[in-house]
């Protein structure tokens, strides 16, 4: 069996204690949430932490609650819990869609939302819907608590703006505007989700009282070093009727914005082609949901 290298292991029971260990530990310290990335990365040698700080004994970091202006999702909330949550389904349909196609059911039981952001994989399924929904992360560090948009946290493959001693404690998803609908789709090697995305797309569309698209947000996975906001595609929709022509224009703009690599999952050109197809499909779902919400 692939044995893990030795590390010093900690199970702090408070955030303060965890931050203390991280701050003292320096660059070799890593947080452990569900471990579905960290344990894998330690087995493959991609990560060689000398200190592992398990967050799971700290109370209050898991669960989903309705709060003023939106919902608050604890960083340790498992993806399976997101998938099953009626609150997430109502308030953040794209996030619920994404949770339902992330990995396989047993992995979803371990994998957490905070770990998904922390890993910052370009193929992340949760980054795009969180950015579409303008989610805000609460981060605890040695200097206290701060809030950052999830969008601003991504820097590159596996890299975030978080310092070693920073802990995401929760994610706030604001109540969407009236007439808003969102959806997430991905294409992997096999049907029905479960595989890492060759391409993933989340979209959110707000229909105005006149039935035109007041605003749109489109974010793609696996086509750039970070989740990619397709601003030109969003602009191609603003102010237009939610027609097939508008959808096609946005899909073309989204494909044009992609900067993918070729890897074992798909070639760059295949990814660009998929990005267009998937953007059109996900926009149709988001528009249909926005129409439902406008009724």
């Amino acid at each position: 069996m692939k044995r893990l290298r030795e590390f010093s292991y900690h199970e702090p029971e408070s955030l303060e204690a965890a931050i203390g260990i991280l701050a003292a530990g320096g660059d070799g310290a890593r947080l452990l949430a569900g471990g579905t990335d960290l344990v894998v990365d330690m087995k493959t040698g991609r990560m060689r932490p000398s200190i592992v700080v398990n967050l799971k004994r700290i109370p209050g970091l898991s669960g989903i609650e309705a709060v003023e202006g939106g919902i608050r999702i604890g960083a340790l909330t498992p993806v399976a819990t997101l998938q099953a949550s009626p609150l997430v389904g109502q308030m953040a349909a794209a996030l619920a869609d994404a949770a339902a196609v992330l990995a396989t059911p047993p992995v979803r039981g371990l994998a957490t939302i905070g770990g998904n952001i922390g890993r910052a994989s370009p193929a992340s399924d949760l980054g795009p819907p969180l950015i579409v929904h303008e989610a805000i992360a609460t981060i605890e560090g040695p200097d206290g608590s701060r809030e950052e948009t999830v969008e601003s946290l991504y820097v590159g493959p596996g890299a975030t703006t978080l310092a070693v001693h920073d802990i995401i404690t929760s994610i706030f998803v604001p109540t969407p505007a009236a007439g808003f609908g969102s959806a997430h789709l991905k294409i992997g090697a096999r049907a029905g989700g479960t595989d890492i995305a060759m391409v993933g797309v989340s979209a959110g569309v707000t229909l105005g009282a006149d039935g035109r698209i007041a605003a749109a947000r489109i974010v793609l996975a696996s086509v750039a070093p970070t989740p990619l906001r397709a601003i030109a595609a969003e602009q191609a929709l603003a102010g237009r009727e939610p027609s097939e022509e508008a959808v096609a224009a946005a899909a073309a703009a989204a494909a044009a914005a992609c900067r993918p690599i070729s890897d074992l999952r798909a070639s760059a050109s295949h990814r660009v082609a998929l990005a267009g197809v998937l953007t059109a499909r996900v926009l149709r779902s988001a528009i249909a949901r926005a129409r439902e919400a406008s009724r």
Binding site: M1, E6, Y9, G35
Partner: protein, 153 residues
């Protein structure tokens, strides 16, 4: 460090290293070799055990995270040697060739049927998507599962 957990219905206490995975503990300390390591990285489900009732790839769980929890391995499904319903249905349908994936399959299948006794074919496929069978016994696994879910002969 010391780990106390319930394994197949019995309270057990043993010494583990923090860097051991639950799978290593199960196979090497408890000598329960039903759970297998194939990929070691969460993709194949051959190491599946029930952790507090939920199918969990034990190769991804650090041993200390099992503290105080209830672990059921494939050995725990038939403690007296009599096969449980899922195992018997797999045997009858011949839902394996080499049998390497079977512990993960029956552990995962049993949890699904406990929660959804009449799971639809699509739900069965989704639930079992986390267990890979190198021999390609999926069709016969589905045959066993259809019968367990109350359909087919």
């Amino acid at each position: 460090m010391r780990l106390t957990a319930t394994v197949n219905g019995r309270a057990r206490t043993f010494e583990v290293e923090a860097r051991s995975t639950l799978l290593e503990v199960i196979r090497e300390s408890l000598l329960l070799t039903g759970a297998k390591e194939a990929c070691g990285v969460g993709e194949c489900g051959n190491c599946m055990v029930l952790l507090d009732g939920e199918p969990t790839p034990s190769c991804l769980v650090l041993a200390p995270d099992a503290e105080g929890r209830e672990i059921v391995t494939v050995e725990g499904l038939a403690p007296e040697g009599a096969l449980d319903e899922v195992q018997a249905a797999f045997l009858e349908a011949g839902a394996f060739q080499c049998g390497f994936c079977t512990p993960g399959m029956v552990i995962t299948a049993g949890a699904l049927l406990r929660d959804q006794p009449n799971a639809a074919a699509g739900e069965i496929k989704q639930a079992l998507a986390g267990v890979l069978c190198r021999c390609g016994s999926y069709t016969k696994v589905m045959k066993a599962m259809e019968k367990l879910a109350g359909r087919g002969a």
